[in-house]
Every structure is written in C-alpha cells, then in structure tokens.
C-alpha cells in the first residue's frame, strides 16, 4: 500500500520547497517545519515500503512515459531502500536540529527551502530507475550544494567555496555525462529488441546488455562514470572542494558530508557495480583511488585546527574507505556492495552526529578554532558525550557501528591482497584506520578535555538541537551489531533481482571466480589488527592531547620538519590547484578562449551584422519620405502598365 505513494517521498520535500520559498518569510522559523515534516513523512513512507518489501525480498518498480524512448521511473530495491531510509532519517534529524541552529538567521526561509530541495534531489537520485534520470537529480544535488555552501553569500570565502564546489564537481559531472553518452551509443549499436516497458539506459536493460558490449568500451564507460563519482564523493584528486564546503552553515556540512551529496558518488558506483565488475581493470582503479584517498585525507586531518576541517578530511577519508570497499569487489563479487553500503549507512549516522555536535560547540563557543576551545565538556555535557559516541564509532572502537563496518572493509581488503589483486589497498586502509583514531580523538581531547584556552561563551545548546544528537548517538553506537549480517546479505544480493550473473561477468572482467564471500582464511592477527590500531590510535591521541598528557607533539616533529610542513600546507594543494592550475593553466586557456570568442566567433557575427546594417543604410535612402516621389513612381508605374496592357490588347507580343 505504501508503495503506491512512493513518488511522494520526493514529492513532499519538493512541495515543502515551494511552500517555504514563497510563504516562509511570513511564517515562524522560516517555515522550517514544512521541510521537517515532509522529510519525516518521506521516512514514514520509506519505512512502510521497507516493511512491505523486506519479508519477501521484493522490489518496487513503477515507470511512466516521459519523452520519446525514455520513461521516468521509480525503482526501489534493497540498495535504494537502505539509502532512502538513511537519507530521510538523517535529514529529518538534521532539519530538526537546524530549527534550533538557524534560529534568528534572516535567511532562514531560504535555508529551509534549499535544504528541502536538496533532500528531494538526493531522494530522487536514489530511487531513479534509469541512468539519465539519475543524472538529472545528480545535477540538482550539485546545484543545491552550491546554493547551500554559498548560503552566507555576502562572505567572500563562502561565495568562492560555493563556486569551487560547483566547478570541481562539474569536472566529474562532465565525465559522468560522457560515460552516459558512451554507454548509450554502445547500447544503441546492439540493436536490442526490448521487452515491453523496458527502455535504454534503464538499469535492468544495462545489466542485461553488459555481456554484449565490448569489454574495452566497458572499461571506458566505467572509468568515466567513476570520474563522476570521484567528483561528487570527493575522491583524490577532485576532493579539494569538500573541506572548503565547510563555509556553509554546519547543518549544511552535516547534510553534504553525511546523508546526501557525497554518498551519491558511492551510490552510483554501487548501483553500476555489475558494469564495473564486468569491465576489466575498472574496479582496480576504484580500489586504489579509494584506498589512497582514505590515507591521503587522514594525514591532513591530523594537523588541522579548524574543528570542521578535521571532520571534512575525515569524511573524505571515510568515503575513500567506501570506494575501496566497492573496489575490492574484484575479489569479493557483489558481497562488497553490502560491505561498502554498510559503511556508508553507518558513516552517515556518526558523521551527521559529529558535524551536528561540532555545530553545537561552534554555536555555543563562537569559534571554529580548536586552539581556542578546551574543557568544553564541563559546560556542554550532552554535546560532549554524544560527540564521544560519534568519535568512538569513527575510530572503530569495538562493538560500535564503525567497528563493524570499517573493519569489514579492512579485512576484505586483506583478502583482496591475499587473492593476488594487490596489497596496497589493505596497507593504505590499515594505516588510515590508525590515523583516523588519532585525529578523531585529537579533536575530542582538544575540544572537550583540558582547560579552557580562551574566554568563550559557556552554555549548552537548546533541546531541539540536543534531541537529534542523542538519537544519532544511539544509532551510531548500536546500529551496527544487530544488523550487520542481515545487511550484507540483503544489500549484497541486490543484483539477483535483475538476474545478473556475476560468474559470467567475472569472465569478461578477467576476475577469478570465487565461491562464497570468504574464500581466504585470514590469520587471527589480521582479524584483530583493526581493533589494535583503533584502540591504539585512541591511546596515542590521549597521550598527546588529553589531561593525562605524557608527550608533546613537539617531541615528534619540530617546526622545521619537512613532513609537518607539507601536511600543514596540505600537500601544497592550494599552490598546485589554485595558484598553478587555476590561475596559470586555466586562466591562460581562458584568455585564449576569450580571444577566440571575441575575435573569431563574435567577429564573424559582428561582421555579418555590420554588412546588413550598411546595406540597409544604403537601401533606406530609397524611402525618401517625400510623398511626391512615391506618387511619381506610382503614376509612372501605372502609365507603363497601361501602355503594356494596351499593347497586349493590340496583339503585340511583349
């Protein structure tokens, strides 16, 4: 029964967007309750659908005629339903929190309108049944992130961060679009006879025709689609927009980094997993890029002093884990989709929690700089404790959600290595896990432990903000344990609904065909190593930054240490991307393009118009405006005509 109203999951937030943008100015709290209610209604609907389809392992598929050979459709399978549940649930909590956090901001109505549209776009992306529709919502998500990151558009840094986010993700989006075009042309070439109701670019059709498309084409398509995911999910080298996206309100960061936007890229790769699996070498790229990003971002998280930037790099790092989780599917098959998506869901809970806690701290303290905090726990018990829950989960402390989700990725990465697909993903992942624990607890200790290092405001946030924190903390801590095995099974078998034969695809992709998820027996040390590095990282952070401090960070690195310097400079990314690439290369190309545009393209048009104008200028002299001239012409013309008629009637051949 709920599935008949599936379209409302997107429809209601869109309605909330329309209502708040037109009426929000006249309503209390900017009409934010519209957005909250719409998102919550979406959660109820999603949950209802989940209850209906879970017991019998069904999928929901509806589609209606759109244009020419495409349909607009709704597809809710295990992969989509877990995303729908997560997005609606987390977004409901974030919007509720925003009711308190954005209180008093003159742009509140605009905030809630854009947040509603953002949620709607993400939900639409998740339940699209074809790649083109997914792309449309994908672009809409990009637009909304631009609007929200630049929410405080009077601040130059926010405006430039929004522009940066838009432009950097655009690079990925162009690749995504190119991938779609390439896939489409290949599918058209196949001359498929489609069954009733099916159409090109529908996921079912794509899965069905994978075996027919040439493998080298598949690799190109997969790499291009992955390019889109790299842009959206902040993988190296297109991760640069993510830390800058902190310029928006903290709730926006929570939304972008936890529930929506960045997960879209991972979702895309998960959704197209059979294609990646069938394409030789594509998953290898995914695994290496993901694992490298995980480590690369974690090292930068270690040295940041802006509380939100630490979390931003942590997001980039965790997204790397998710990508790596999908990439090691080369060894694990579709099981890895379950593993990766489980981390995505868990991550969205604890990262939303961490961001909202950080927002609560910033709200109270009035600064982002951790060097000016310290000892906040005394004044903000609830925020501090919920943040501790989030940090434990992120660090992978045993029995928290992060422990189950992240460690599974690390262990499967080991199997990936043991099967001869390369050890680097595992090494990167385990190192990143250690760093994750360290930077997470460095943050927690710096903010909440010790003595106050500046004279900040001391008050706890209102309950409308704390409520969502507590709910998220409970989920972050305890969601993982009971659901893990079911989740892997449920989402991992997603593609059986489409009759995808992974063994056949493995032959095309050149993978070993593995039977069962765990074909390799990993040694005991490998199984407990994630726990060791997680707990060890927390201890290291405690020894350096907490009240039981035994060491000083100066003992490890000195001011002149090149490694420290390179980390603080963030690997010279700013120098490379902005100063060199953007200002030299892109600006140079822009100058040349501008010249071509002005001189050649505009020049041609201008020349043509100048000729027309000159010709017209000459020709209009004929229109003297003197009646007599016209009259003369008429009389003469008439006379000539009469003479001709007279001649004709006399039989003279004219």
């Amino acid at each position: 029964m709920y599935q008949d109203y599936a379209y409302l999951i997107v429809g209601l937030p869109v309605l909330a967007f329309v209502l708040t943008i037109f009426l929000g100015w006249h309503l209390p709290k900017g009409g934010g309750f519209f957005t909250v209610l719409a998102t919550f209604a979406g959660f109820i609907l999603s949950f209802g659908i989940f209850r209906e389809i879970y017991p019998n392992d069904e999928i929901v598929h509806q589609s209606m005629h759109w244009f020419a050979s495409f349909n607009a459709g709704i597809l809710i399978d295990p992969l989509a339903i877990v995303m729908l549940l997560m997005v609606t649930f987390v977004c409901t909590l974030i919007h509720t929190y925003a009711l308190g956090y954005m209180e008093g901001d003159p742009g509140m109505a605009r905030y809630f309108a854009e947040a509603g549209l953002f949620t709607a776009a993400m939900l639409g992306l998740v339940f699209s049944d074809n790649l083109l529709q997914l792309f449309i919502f994908w672009e809409l998500v990009g637009l909304c992130s631009y609007l929200l990151i630049g929410f405080w558009y009077r601040k130059p840094s926010a405006a430039s961060a929004a522009k940066k986010a838009f432009l950097v993700t655009r690079v990925g989006d162009v690749m995504f679009l190119a991938g779609i075009v390439l896939l489409y042309t290949n599918m058209v070439k196949l001359n498929l006879t489609l069954p009733d109701g099916a159409y090109l670019l529908q996921f079912q059709t794509i899965y069905d025709s994978l075996t027919l498309i040439p493998p080298d084409q598949l690799t190109w398509i997969a790499v291009l689609l992955f390019g889109g995911a790299v842009g959206k999910s902040g993988q190296f080298p297109l991760h640069v927009w993510l830390p800058d996206a902190m310029e928006g309100p903290t709730t926006v960061s929570a939304m972008i980094h936890a529930a929506t936007m960045v997960t879209a890229g991972v979702y895309l790769v998960a959704r197209m997993f059979p294609l990646f699996y069938a394409a030789p070498n594509a998953l290898m790229v995914v695994a290496y890029v993901g694992a490298f990003t995980a480590l690369f971002a974690a090292t930068m998280g270690l040295v940041m002093f802006d509380i939100k930037r630490v979390l931003a790099y942590s997001t980039v790092s965790q997204l790397g884990y998710m990508m790596a989780g999908l990439g090691i599917g080369a060894a694990m098959g579709a099981f890895s989709v379950g593993v990766s998506m489980f981390h995505l869901i868990g991550h969205s809970f604890f990262k939303a929690l961490l961001f909202l806690c950080a927002g609560s701290v910033i709200h109270a303290v009035g600064t982002n700089d951790m060097r000016e905090m310290g000892g906040v726990l005394k004044h903000m018990k609830w925020t501090g404790l919920t943040m501790l829950a989030g940090s434990l989960t992120l660090a992978g402390f045993p029995l928290t959600t992060g422990f189950f989700s992240k460690d599974e990725i690390i262990v499967t990465a080991f199997e990936h290595g043991a099967m001869g697909f390369g050890w680097l993903p595992y090494i990167f992942a385990i190192l990143a896990a250690l760093l994750t624990a360290i930077y997470t607890f460095r943050l927690w200790f710096l903010v909440f432990d010790g003595e106050a290092r500046s004279d900040y405001h001391k008050h706890e946030s209102p309950w409308i903000m704390l409520g969502p924190l507590v709910i998220l903390a409970i989920f972050a801590l305890f969601m993982g344990m009971p659901s893990q095995e079911n989740f892997y099974h449920y989402v991992g078998n997603n593609f059986e609904h489409y009759g995808v034969d992974f063994e056949e695809l493995a032959v095309i992709g050149g993978h070993h065909v593995e039977h069962g998820a765990h074909a390799v027996h990993e040694p005991f040390i490998i199984k407990i190593l994630p726990i060791i590095v997680g707990v060890g990282g927390i201890l290291i952070a405690a020894l350096f930054y907490s009240r039981w401090k035994r060491f000083d960070s100066g003992m490890v690195t000195s001011e002149r240490d090149p490694l420290r310097h390179i980390l603080l400079k963030r690997y010279y990314q700013n120098e490379i991307y902005t100063l060199w690439f953007a200002e030299k290369v892109v600006y140079g190309i822009a100058l040349v393009s501008n010249m071509i545009d002005l001189k050649i393209i505009d020049g041609t048009v201008n020349k043509i118009s100048a000729i027309s104008v000159g010709f017209g200028g000459t020709l209009r002299k004929v229109q003297t405006g003197v009646i007599q001239n016209y009259l003369t012409a008429i009389v003469l013309g008439l006379a000539v005509l009469l003479i001709l008629i007279e001649l004709a009637s006399m039989g003279v051949a004219i």
């Binding site: 002299k621 405006g625 009259l631």
Partner: protein, 100 residues
C-alpha cells in the same frame, strides 16, 4: 446638348492639371488645392455620365464625394495650420523631423 466627349475632355484636363500640381508643388496649400481639382474632375465625370445614362446614382455619388472632400479639406487644413504654428512654414520639404 453638349456632347459627352467634351465633359470627359474637361475632366481629363482637370485630372492632369491636378496630378501635375501634386507632383511638382511643395506648398501644402497648393497640394490641397490640387487634390480638390482631382476630386472635382472625378465629380464632373460622375455627374456627366449620370445625366447621359440617365441614372441619378452618379449624382448621389458626386454629392458624397463633395462631402468627403469637404471633410478631407477640413482635416488637411487643420494639420497645415498646426504645422505652420510649429515650424513657421508650410513648405513640406522643410518639415522633415521624422525623416532619416
């Protein structure tokens, strides 16, 4: 009775005079006069043929035409008066504000 051809000759002569004036003159009042001559040449034709047919329709047409000419002259001279006030002349060559 005067032969019809004389009327037609008179009308043709008047029409030609009117047309000649219309093409050559630049003074607004002279132009108006030429237009009147043109109209009246037509009226002569109408009345002459009407008398010869005999059919009274042509004379009715002539009456309409005269009334029309009166109205046209009224409007035309009003415009010329306004032009004279504005420009101090009714030489149409000098009144060219809207020309290219």
């Amino acid at each position: 009775m005067i032969p019809l051809v004389l009327y037609v000759l008179l009308a043709s002569a008047m029409f030609t005079i009117g047309l000649y004036g219309l093409l050559t003159q630049r003074n607004g009042i002279k132009l108006m006069m030429c237009v009147e001559i043109l109209l009246n040449s037509a009226n002569i034709n109408l009345v002459a043929f009407s008398a010869y047919l005999p059919n009274v329709n042509g004379q009715v047409f002539a009456l309409f035409s005269i009334a029309l000419a009166a109205a046209e002259a009224g409007v035309g001279f009003a415009i010329l008066i306004v032009l004279y006030r504005l420009y101090g002349t009714i030489e149409l060559d000098n009144i060219n504000a809207l020309r290219w």
